[in-house]
Subunit: 97 residues, 7 copies
């Protein structure tokens, strides 16, 4: 999915299907009001520009499995695959394998 | 479209027609509530001034194909062509060819 | 119109009549909800003071034709001519001739 | 009016009567929703403290005629004369004579 | 009133009675919606900490007569005397004698 | 009460009973809408991290008697004693003995 | 619980059961409107990036018992265990043993 190069602190994520989620051992409770979404990072920006002119490099990289907020992301479909574009601050954690 | 020189972090974008979008392999789902818009960058500002007095150069350049928020932009028509003027932060990603 | 010296990042603009706008080749669609206004810069401030004590010089100068937000400006009439006073951030772009 | 020493970026202004305004050649349209007020600066603060510890000196000085927002100011009467106290950012421009 | 040591940019003020106000030559119009309050500074903080780690010393000192916003202050009674505690930014001006 | 170590600019306060308050010579008027609360500091954080990476040390220390906002604090009971946890900015002043 | 690596200032907490809470000697009053939650830190981020490009290291570490706001956290279940992910600023204090 090298078709998109996110800007600044933006990240392109491929949401993982509900089936994949359970196989990975991570369950999101239905009752949770603000439960996060799970997905795979497919493209990352170069980081926001700080007041000193440098960029704040992102912590996530392509290939990372992440938990992220399901609110605020923007959806796009490329070659029939759904992606979400959001800012890195909306990602809660990287899932280690 | 050298008629407009955007200020600071503002960018002039020529929205792409729905026909062009499908030919490029990128589909925006109708059901998405916050789906981005696709377009071509035709003019960019010199960047916002940081607190240290330097400018934060923009990441997009004239000719780039981009996905951007369809909210918040300002419309203008020059010689019969529609353009949108927005801040670079409202651009999600550059579409690589 | 040297009667007014704007403060900081404020700019005095003389709005252009609808007749002038069409002759310049720039058309603003009636249907656009947030369409910008066109005008001529007649006076500019010295720029806001940054946290390092320096001023952020303005990008527009007297005589520039600009597109700007029609919201947020303040109207004043001098010798029978209407002007709008706004902050430079409300100006979208300089119109090159 | 040396009775008041404003703090930081605050400014004491003596509003000008409607009669004085028209004689000075500046007319404020009744129809304008956000039309500014005209007045004379009678006392200024030493400027706000920046993050580097220095003060951002004010651009207006005692005696300046200014256009300012009629919202947000605070009224006080000294020896029977009405004054308005506001922050310099609420002043739009200095009126040159 | 050395019983209270305000923190940061906070100031303890003893409001002046309506009788004292008129004798000092300063009248606050009843019709003013946001008219300031008059009082005497009885204790001041050491100033807020700036991003460079230094403190922004206050401009008012114990004994100063000041005009201040009557909104936002916090009331306390010590030995039967009423005081108001507020942030220095809510003080408009020092009244010179 | 060494059981809690507050983070950053947070402070643990033991509210003082109404009986103790009057004996200390400080009376809080019932009619005051925003009257502060009195209490004793039992634990303090190490201060917030400034943009230069240093910590802004707190001004209050364990044992200080303070006036603080009764809004915004969080209540906790340890060994049957009630405490309030709040940020130092919600403390108005130290009460000197 | 090394499965999650939080980003920036985010922290993964395992909430403690009501039974465990009383045994630890800390009681949260039912009547408190904003009473904090008790839990154990199981994973921490590397800290937010400051404007000078450095990271603000977190004060909490894996294994710490903490009091935290029960609002704003995001719930996730891993291998049948419930966790909360929040920003360190939502943690009030570390509970010393």
């Amino acid at each position: 999915m090298s078709a998109l190069k996110p800007l600044a602190d933006k990240v392109v994520i491929q949401p993982m299907e509900a089936e994949e989620k359970t196989s990975g051992g991570i369950y999101l409770p239905d009752s949770a009001k603000k439960k996060p979404q799970q997905g795979k990072v497919v493209a990352v920006g170069d980081g926001k520009i700080l007041e000193n002119g440098e960029r704040a490099k992102l912590s996530v990289k392509t290939g990372d499995s992440v938990l992220y907020s399901k609110y605020g992301g923007n959806e796009v479909t490329i070659d029939g695959v759904d992606y979400t574009i959001l800012e890195e601050d909306q990602i809660y954690a990287i899932i280690n394998n």
